[in-house]
Amino acid sequence: MINNQIIRILSKILFPFLIIFALYVQFHGDYGPGGGFQAGVVVAAAFVFYALVNGLAKLKEIISEKLLECLVPLGVLIYSGVGVTSWILGGNFLDYSLLDKSDPSHGQHMGVLIIELGVLITVAATMLLIFYSFSGRGRKGDS
């Protein structure tokens, strides 16, 4: 599809907007419908769109499979890191209120945002990894 000018240019224009929309969904999750799962899928969709237009090989140059394999557990570690932090601060596992001792509700906001960041990373990386492993199968070289 690299030869089709309209699609190529459209993809270039759309890509940043897709990412911004994902970030909007991510941060809006604090006040309204949204959150890490949805945002992660939108981020992954943006990259999949890029791969559909420019080819899988091009995308693999930007985000290698090795990097994704590290990002998936990294998200899990961010998530559990919040839990460990609340242990250290003397509370129960995942007790966000302790993240900001002076203002518990601010701590709740912080906790949720960090957790959602972990979710975003894991979901986006997993989705891309699934895309990689299915689309790279049974083909000699990338399209």
Binding site: Y31, G32, P33, F37, I130, S133, F134, R137, G138
Partner: protein, 126 residues
Amino acid sequence: MEFINDLSIYFGRINHWVTIFLIVSGLYIIITNSNMIKKLIGLSIFQTSVYLLYVSPGKIIGGTAPIISPQFEVYSNPLPHVLILTAIVVGVATLSLGLALVVRIKEEFGSIDEEAILMNSFEDQE
């Protein structure tokens, strides 16, 4: 009047009927098909019935998203949505693992028809 009451029992809970329909059709697909991809589709339909079962009673007519604000008084129950978000993620994970297994099976056995594979590979075992 009694007749109307009966009707409301049968049609007033349309969401439950759809749930039952999804459960049964999902099970039917899983049992009758020997194509592995179709089985996974059946499994997904079966899981979808759960989403409906949880979410539909959580919706309150006229209710809005459960974010407290002075403008609104009636809110939907947020808990089923959160649960089903988790269940959807579990479903996606199961589906992708199942598909990955089918890809590997196709590479190893050269077929995705369960019965054909079972006929060919489990008989020479004895």
